[in-house]
Symmetry: C2
Subunit: 465 residues, 2 copies
């Protein structure tokens, strides 16, 4: 995978096969039926400049202890009460410490938690508002709370008791789980993946405070070099003289429908007058549910898609977004967008049912497929971000390639569902030519091949975007 | 009850027994532990003027059809598809038509519904934000939707098929009930009163649009004269030369703890430099749950409290707030506050667990008792409103009267719970002298006396604030 790192982060080179001739179109700008009194956004005219969009709060937060202070901090931590971090907690420390959640400086205290739950936003000192839709909190149980006692700071350690960070000026408050779940997911149905993984069995208290992180978080899984921080991404975009950065969040293999979308976005941005729009292809790297394709396989697949020239390396940066996944639909898509502002993106591509999933106990999607883009377009604190909704892409049999769905010739289109794609890949069959580049498809086939079937002979289902 | 109308709305006269000597105090200004980056509010210094606070959106909405147009509108309505309003729907038409929900001009369209659920606020054309925390929506079922077909307007009629209003430029969208409930109440537990009453069996579609209301809504229950609209209240406050209006929302009998709070608020406002603070004593008059004391009995009780001079008629306006009750705690208290801005109030008194209730299936309060005032203090669109949190009042045995609870002499205080009060009133016993004025107490005793016991010999429980 060195090639991907080389091509797309460090040394852009012209693509041999950039598909310049796609003749496709965006959906019209999102139009909501809004009475005079509550139009969600007065969109300012685009002004093109080479300066990247400002991070939320005006300054990118980075919370690492200076080299010269590390010894002192480690000695201090040795005498503090310890809180052990789960894998997901550690991912959140990663997220906060690099400034993805700027201006947050640590795990949320109660005032931030309540503003997040009720308003999906935080009001800053100066009266301005930043978006914040997903609670970023650390749970502790009764025994840990007793242990902490009157201490105003705690040491955060990983599962091997390695010191990760100090949390200071702490505030401990009740973890109202039912309310947190209901307000974040819009349901309390059993079977929400993040809830099962990180909330149900978590402690009954939340501990907020400011983080001092000893070392940048690393996972030593061969992928750390793709985990660029917001500061590093900003440096890369600046080095490339980007005058627009458009982010594409994904947690699934890239098929040619995605590629179509990304190349079409670039075309549109050029039409709008931008000279050098750069794509941030930004797979989510934190916790995902068991039936999603794991990060390592997705990165292999993305590598092939890039090697095969489906996307232009010169105008693409591939990096890993370290956040865990909530599967909280319209609430979570705001977080996905907001974090990318902090990484320098001023355009955000949003599709059908972003961060959605099936209802855990009813036979329907959990969220209205259109709510994600609508909520995103109206979200407080995201006014500066240009939201790019897109039409559904499907396999156009008449052209033998992925294209934006045209309802006037519905019969020409084939929708390849997650189930269909999984079945094909598991059976080592090929999808229609033009659905995904062959080497990318092979990675998927290899992934399903690598799975040990469960007792019932079924393999977990992978769900594409 | 003519006396109350006379005294408190039309002809203020000096109180014979205004308790000027209460020596009590407010809780300190609400202090939340907030990091630098997310202080919820930068409070402006108070500026005292005789102009009332502006309604949300700058102009008070009133949606009544002009006299000269009534005939035409009635003829038009005769040819439109009809939607029959429930009692609660009618209360919402009342609320919207008089401008309590300004700048809303009708039942919410989807963009407003989504902003309400996700952000508890609406963004206006000019980019400013108003608070809106509770969905004000009208549900229709599949058959009604079919009947409406392609019509752009519908006639709204009451249960006797009398024309109430025309809803125009309609938009019909899905009624995602589970999500609405979860995001509004922070729970989906069965047994939420408003949900059982108005959502569970309501249609699967919502219909939004602009209202043209034929006649002001009247209930012909002898209480209509207390139902002053925001415009009428503003006129009354102006007539009285109010330079501050402080609102007290309640849905229960007034005891001397409430009275203490209200008189103490006035004392504080005078200390702050206001010359003529007026109390808006504003019982909620719409739907309440079965075990609350009904409006007619509460109004009788309030009348006695006022006749007995517990509150000063010269500085008090008693009126009925026509909204139905959600019992949605921190979400609903924002609505209660926002609506009073529209009626001219610039101070809002908030107590412990506002709009709260017991969890319907767990043995605990549904909401954290402190969240209401915290959320209110941070709510978008309520920055202009001064929030006055208060300490718990209890019966002080050492003084023989209601007083603010002093934890340093805990043993002196008696908390008279709802259950205790009900038991006393039902058994025609008296509470400790000084808990409630005797004539007010007698109304409560009469109310319980009037109830026909259910088969199990129990009477419904009334729950005080």
């Amino acid at each position: 995978m060195a090639s991907m790192a080389t091509y797309f982060v460090k040394t852009p080179s012209p693509s041999p096969s950039f598909p310049k001739t796609f003749n496709t179109h965006f959906s019209p700008a999102l139009r909501l039926s809004i009475p005079l009194s509550s139009k969600p956004r007065t969109r300012r005219r685009l002004r093109i400049s080479n300066a990247l969009i400002e991070p939320d709060g005006g300054k990118l937060v980075e919370l690492f202890v200076k080299e010269s202070k590390k010894g002192e901090k480690k000695r201090e931590a040795a005498s503090l009460p310890r809180v052990k971090l789960s894998r997901i907690d550690l991912q959140w420390v990663h997220v906060i410490s690099e400034g993805w959640s700027s201006p947050l400086r640590g795990f949320m205290r109660e005032s931030e938690f309540l503003q997040t739950l009720h308003f999906n936003s935080l009001r800053l000192e100066d009266g301005s508002v930043v978006n914040m839709s997903v609670p970023i909190v650390l749970a502790i149980d009764d025994a840990q709370k007793r242990l902490i006692g009157e201490s105003t700071r705690v040491a955060l350690v990983d599962s091997d008791n390695n010191l990760i960070a100090i949390l200071k000026d702490i505030e401990i408050y009740k973890h109202h789980k039912e309310e947190r779940i209901a307000r974040t997911w819009g349901t309390t149905a059993p079977g929400l993946p993040y809830v099962d993984q990180a909330i149900t069995n978590a402690g009954n208290w939340l501990i907020g405070g400011d983080l001092e992180v000893i070392e940048p978080i690393k996972y030593h899984d061969g992928l750390d070099r793709f985990r660029l921080s917001p500061a590093e991404l900003r440096e890369e975009f600046t080095r490339r003289n980007a005058d627009a950065v458009f982010a594409f969040q994904l947690r699934n293999p890239v098929h040619n429908g995605h590629a179509l979308l990304m190349t079409d976005t670039r075309r549109r941005l050029l039409e709008m007058g931008y000279k050098n729009p750069i794509l941030l292809l930004h797979p989510l790297g934190g916790y995902t549910k068991a039936d999603d394709v794991p990060l390592s396989w997705r990165m292999k697949q993305h590598e092939k898609v890039l090697e095969d020239g489906v996307l232009d390396p010169e105008t693409t940066v591939v990096s890993i977004f370290p956040s865990p996944m909530h599967y909280a639909g319209p609430t979570e898509v705001q977080w996905h967008a907001k974090a990318r502002i902090n990484a320098g993106a001023n355009f955000y591509i949003v599709g059908r049912d972003p961060a959605g999933m099936g209802h855990p106990i009813e036979n329907r999607d959990l969220y209205d497929a259109d709510h994600g883009k609508k909520v995103l377009s109206m979200a407080p604190g995201l006014e500066r971000l240009n939201i790019l909704p897109f039409k559904v892409a499907a396999y156009d049999k008449s052209q033998g390639k992925m294209a934006f769905f045209d309802p006037s010739r519905q019969q020409d289109f084939l929708f390849i569902s997650g189930t269909k794609m999984r079945t094909l890949a598991r059976n080592k069959e090929n999808p229609p030519e033009g659905f995904m580049c062959p080497n990318g498809w092979k990675v998927l086939v290899d992934y399903y091949d690598s799975l040990v079937p469960a007792d019932n002979g079924k393999v977990p289902e992978a769900v594409p975007v």
